[in-house]
């Protein structure tokens, strides 16, 4: 069995809550990511789902080293990512890239498309000698389905979906091994979403990419992912293959989440058992003791407050963090 390309272990990221006018003091911590561990195998797509505040975007930022982790490790091809500095960090950047959500702010409006897609080559000049860059940029534009003749246009002259393609071309330029898609299709129209999703799938095959696909749309994630991790309040509560999660979810939160997703079939109306969650998501500054989901869970018992359930193999044969994990099919 091949080695994982990415191994994340007990990743933690806290943001300080500051207070004070003249000189700010730390009065609390937002526990955005609180002990996340997973592996990413070469060529696979790991979907990461969760609702707002679960920490999935912070996870993306930390993996890209746009934020430094509070603790924890991540190994890329066996080497410790967070210890890298200088030239080694630069080389790492060539291997892990990101596609961001908002097509309207992810491209510098004052740079031409050619400049934007060519910038990776300017920063990492050793990858392509100066003369060949123009050709490489055109090739990238072509690969993502854009007209290479538009190399001198500005972002505002493109539609949202096209801008997203430009962002993908930029991420692809250095031939990374891993691309983190942070809600990469969420801001697109439905019919364009499909185009970009197909593009991502196709590129994965063509370039041997591994994706960490972060999204809140469960239908989209199911479509693209080999394995899926479900996050809640900074932790992974369940992780398994796409089939495990969607057809045999064992964690109550996953079940509730899946049951709430509308399905485009009116015949199912009234026949679906929607699990309704009580209350609001607790604040990440002060998460509940023990199992974080216990404040909204219908299975809650005393042990849930005392002991945090470990992410271990439970009912269904995949990793789940619930003392009372039980398989239950909720997707019709």
């Amino acid at each position: 069995m091949p080695d994982p390309i990415l191994q994340v272990s007990e990743l933690v990221k806290y943001f300080p809550v500051l207070s004070g006018v003249l000189f700010r003091r730390t009065v609390g911590q937002v526990k955005a990511v609180d002990g996340v561990s997973f592996d990413l195998m070469p060529g696979e797509t790991l979907g990461v789902v969760g609702e707002s505040g679960c920490g999935k975007s912070t996870l993306a930022q930390v993996l890209m080293r746009l934020e430094e982790p509070t603790s924890g490790t991540a190994f890329f091809e066996g080497r410790d990512m967070f210890k890298m500095r200088g030239p080694e960090l630069r080389r790492l950047r060539r291997n892990i890239q990101i596609v961001l959500q908002d097509p309207y702010t992810s491209l510098n409006p004052r740079m031409t498309v050619g400049d934007i897609v060519g910038e990776p080559f300017e920063i990492h000049s050793e990858v392509a000698p100066k003369g060949s860059r123009g050709a490489k940029v055109r090739e990238l534009l072509d690969v993502v389905g854009l007209n290479p003749e538009h190399i001198n246009r500005y972002p505002h002259q493109f539609s949202g979906g096209q801008r997203q393609r430009i962002g993908i071309a930029r991420a692809l330029a250095l031939r990374p091994k891993v691309i983190i898609c942070d809600e990469a299709v969420s801001a697109l129209d439905v019919s364009i979403q499909a185009q970009v999703m197909n593009l991502l799938g196709q590129l994965q095959g063509e370039f041997g990419l591994s994706y960490v696909f972060i999204a809140h749309d469960l239908s989209v994630v199911r479509h693209l992912s080999t394995r899926v991790a479900v996050m809640y309040l900074g932790k992974i509560v369940e992780i398994g293959t796409e089939d495990d999660i969607y057809a045999h979810p064992s964690h109550p939160y996953t079940q509730a989440l899946l049951s709430a997703v509308p399905v485009a079939d009116p015949a199912l109306r009234g026949n679906r058992q929607i699990i309704r969650l009580e209350g609001d998501v607790p604040s990440p500054v002060d998460p509940p003791s023990g199992c974080r989901f216990r404040t909204r869970c219908w299975k809650v018992q005393d042990i849930c407050a005392r002991e945090e359930p470990a992410l271990s193999i439970r009912a269904g044969g995949h990793l789940s963090a619930c003392h009372f994990a039980e398989e239950r099919s909720v997707v019709p």
Partner: protein, 316 residues
């Protein structure tokens, strides 16, 4: 993130093909600067203000073209005469030709305006970008530092600075006094430019394309010069145009107080100052230079307004 409101800008709505559709053949690339320029060209406000400013600049560069008499020309026989064919702006109480003085005074006023603004914007931008980009304690320190300067009342501060350099009744040379006035104005107004640049930087820093650049491994200087500055310069530019006008007004204020430019150097402020005791009997002594100051300041404000509108991508 959702698609922009359809009522705002149609060519940016979701997936709608933008106006420069490939199907319509090759189009010239339209940068935001190019678009802004195209828009500006059409605005009468912009054209008028540029015209006025250009005229003033030409007057400052080549006053000889406009006035056959030198600034120090004096004929006491004609003192206090109203405007006539001989002297278009009349004579002041010392027999100076007001028109000639006004023409020659443009240079000093304009020089103060331009250099004070340049210096203010330069200092303010550098400090602002550093504070905004690095944040945390650097930001705290620099912002507090700027607050100290911002807290000084302008006139009081200027008086203190200028009288320290030039004891009362001294008559410094032209270059020296202009440099000092420029310096005083800059020292007291740079925090404004700093704040503008700082907040623009704070906003720009959060934008996705900056994150993408960092993710690519871009160096700090590349991020600042390629990604932050081009997008933060717009508000500073707008401020600069207005500040120019304000600096000219400040020069007049300082001259009026007797601590700025003073004889033998002539500027609009000096003229206004000289007119202070004679205004009621010799109104033209005051009105013409004051009029020039007002019109010039207004022209810069109009320019700033037009530029701001053109550079605002949302107001398209």
């Amino acid at each position: 993130m959702t698609d922009p409101n359809i009522a705002a800008d149609l060519s940016h709505v979701g997936e709608v093909a933008p106006v420069t559709d490939p199907a319509n053949g090759p189009h010239k690339p339209r940068s935001l600067w190019g678009d802004a320029w195209r828009q500006l060209r059409r605005k009468p406000l912009f054209l008028l203000s540029v015209f006025i400013i250009l005229v003033v600049v030409v007057i400052a560069i080549a006053p000889g073209l406009f006035s056959s008499r030198a600034a120090d020309f004096s004929d006491l026989n004609h003192a206090n005469e109203s405007p006539s064919a001989d002297a278009w702006f009349g004579y002041d109480n010392q027999g100076y030709d007001v028109y000639a003085r006004t023409i020659y005074g443009a240079r000093a006023s304009l020089l103060v305006g331009i250099f004070a603004t340049l210096l203010t914007v330069l200092i303010g931008s550098i400090v602002g970008i550093i504070a905004g980009y690095y944040g945390r304690w650097i930001d705290s320190v620099l912002s507090r530092f700027g607050d100290i300067f911002a807290g000084l009342p302008f006139v009081l501060g200027a008086i203190v600075i200028l009288t320290t350099f030039n004891p009362p009744d001294s008559h410094p040379g032209e270059v020296r006094i202009i440099a000092q006035v420029v310096g005083s104005i800059s020292v007291l107004t740079w925090p404004v430019a700093m704040r503008i640049m700082r907040s623009a930087t704070l906003v720009a820093k959060q934008l996705d394309y900056v994150k993408a650049a960092r993710g690519l491994g871009a160096s700090t200087s590349r991020i600042i010069f390629r990604h932050l500055l081009p997008n933060t310069i717009a508000p500073v530019l707008v401020y600069a145009t207005i500040a120019l006008g304000a600096a000219i007004g400040a020069e007049a204020t300082l001259a009026y107080l007797g601590i700025g430019i003073r004889s033998p150097v002539v500027s609009w402020g000096v003229e206004i100052s000289d007119a202070r005791d004679y205004f009621q009997n010799v109104p033209h002594m005051l009105l013409f230079p004051a009029g020039f100051v007002t019109i010039t300041v207004l022209a810069f404000v109009m320019l700033g307004d037009a530029v701001r509108q053109a550079l605002d991508p949302k107001a398209r």
